[in-house]
Symmetry: C2
Subunit: 332 residues, 2 copies
């Protein structure tokens, strides 16, 4: 057995100073002579001293911990988590990951529990919650929901920004497409609702035909079934899928019917998943910088924890990537 972690007391003894001097030297807070400070720092480093966070947390009454809530659903949350963890670490926070399943109400309850539990200073959730069910007292930790979309809740709306779909539909109309179909994501995702709403507004505004909105899950099966359910004379058709997984199912459904792209059908996805450039045909989609989204979400949570106003990021998180699944388009 070797020695346990050195404490500030051990460092003090080795440096020939008092324990409080060690603390002041390390924090840089008190009025410490530069020579003393450097000496203490050198001794602490040579001993491999690391402050005990539990003790610090007890004394400061701040846990130094933030919770991030994720779920098992397959999507881009690991990249968001990566970005969020980076920013939290730079700010001196540890991130506790919580994996939550169940209904939206279950998840909301778990998030509320975390915010009220006093173990964390803030909660960032990557899963939709039900704002009306998220009853938090004044002393609960702040909650930031990524891509949630409600006034009561602090939110990072950028992932729910669907405005680029206007660009996509505009270009397809410009290329001669007159009939559209939307395969939507789950209703409780703000991003899915926003994409559906922009789709409906765009087809109405541009006076083109819509065969409606179908789907409701982030799954290739939804896209495949949407195409298989179409009448033969639905062609030519432009299918706007709410994400790349759904769009992949659209490609698959078209292949099963013997419909070819882009002649019978064109398709678009969302997210620029790793597979999107390698399907046949490759998928036109909207690329999203999820890692940066995670960074921004965490910055927003940190601002809430500190009671500051969050910085309003200006650079866009999304851009359109045109590929083969939409066929040739007029330049512009």
């Amino acid at each position: 057995m070797s020695a346990r972690q050195p404490t500030s007391h051990d460092v003090a003894r080795a440096a020939g100073v008092s324990q409080s001097t060690v603390s002041y030297a390390l924090s840089g807070k008190g009025t410490i002579a530069p020579r003393t400070r450097e000496h203490v720092l050198a001794v602490a480093a040579s001993m491999g001293y690391r402050p005990n966070l539990a003790a610090r947390s007890m004394r400061t009454q701040r846990s130094g911990r933030l919770a991030v809530v994720t779920g098992a659903t397959v999507d881009n949350r690991l990249r968001m988590l990566t970005g969020a963890t980076e920013v939290a670490g730079e700010a001196g926070y540890a991130v506790d990951t919580h994996s939550v399943d169940g209904t939206a109400e279950d998840r909301t309850e778990r998030v509320a529990d975390l915010a009220r539990g006093g173990q964390v200073e803030g909660v960032l959730t990557f899963l939709p919650v039900v704002p009306a069910a998220l009853r938090l007292d004044d002393d609960a930790a702040p909650v930031v929901a990524v891509a949630a979309f409600d006034e009561q809740l602090r939110t990072t709306g950028e992932l729910a920004d669907a405005s680029l779909l206007g660009t996509v539909i505009g270009a397809l109309v410009g290329a001669g497409h007159r009939r559209f179909l939307h395969v939507a994501g789950p209703e409780h995702f703000a991003s899915a609702r926003a994409r559906r709403d922009v789709y409906l507004a765009e087809v109405a505004r541009r006076g083109v035909e819509s065969l409606g909105v179908v789907g409701g899950v982030w799954s290739p099966a939804a896209g495949r079934e949407a195409v298989l359910a179409l009448p033969d004379d639905a062609r030519p058709l432009a299918v706007i899928a709410a994400n790349d997984h759904i769009a992949l199912g659209v490609l698959r459904g078209a292949a099963e019917r013997g419909w070819s792209l882009p002649g019978d059908l064109v398709a678009t996805g969302w997210d620029d998943a790793e597979f999107a450039a390698y399907t046949t045909p490759s998928l036109t989609t909207i690329s999203v910088d999820f890692r940066e989204a995670g960074r921004r979400a965490m910055r927003r949570l940190l601002a809430a924890v500190r009671g500051e106003e969050p910085a309003r990021p200006t650079t866009p998180l999304q851009h359109v990537v045109w590929r083969e699944s939409t066929g040739p388009l007029p330049a512009g």
Copy 2:
């Protein structure tokens, strides 16, 4: 402002007992009269009491925290993280997520830092580390590496188990295939090495031709380039890709050359990614239960933390899923 979190002292006052009695009642450890215990529990619950983990940790000299190390790479780690978090939570541990980038040496250094830092009781890494570089003292926290493959390191070898590839190659040979190619994953992944080794052993053992081992990254680009680099007379060929992303690139490369599956080429992947059932043709692959892999990895870490022998799981984590990309096979 409302009141801060109640402490065991507050509960004691409200229940008319001493603070130590509250502690014994909650932990169930001391010799507490059942009536007293129930009363304390009821009062604590009514006040919404939650023990301060920092204080507990300070007193018990155990942090109650485990670190999980992930990275930004796109793969199935979120599902593994989900499983690991579940098991840790059930065991009363909080999980700190650390996102690490850089070279294998950088990552190893970060993992070693975490193990030595004294803030966590154990470290689970989903990224490969360099065992030789992971110099840990006796008092460092135990490290478990998922799919690492070295004697020095505790490891969960199941994800690196490539034996099912023998089944796959056997069936393909039985169907008449005589020429194979392997598109491998990165050398520092134990799973990639194991798949390559089984591939080489199987083609040698069965006396079929191998065009070699190419690749080296978990990316569709590697699969696509491998196919584009083949001579025209490589057909008919069976391509064994180290994962589904690579296999997707193989499909794409074949499409670009005008080669059809399964006539000119058959292909297999690994992981059963969500897209694998929806490519055209759909992908024969080896399905892996990543969530269960995460659970088992965390159980292994918990066993190491407790100094126990880990349970040896018996149910398989992987199974072959035959789909269109390998064409029709003889029954059996």
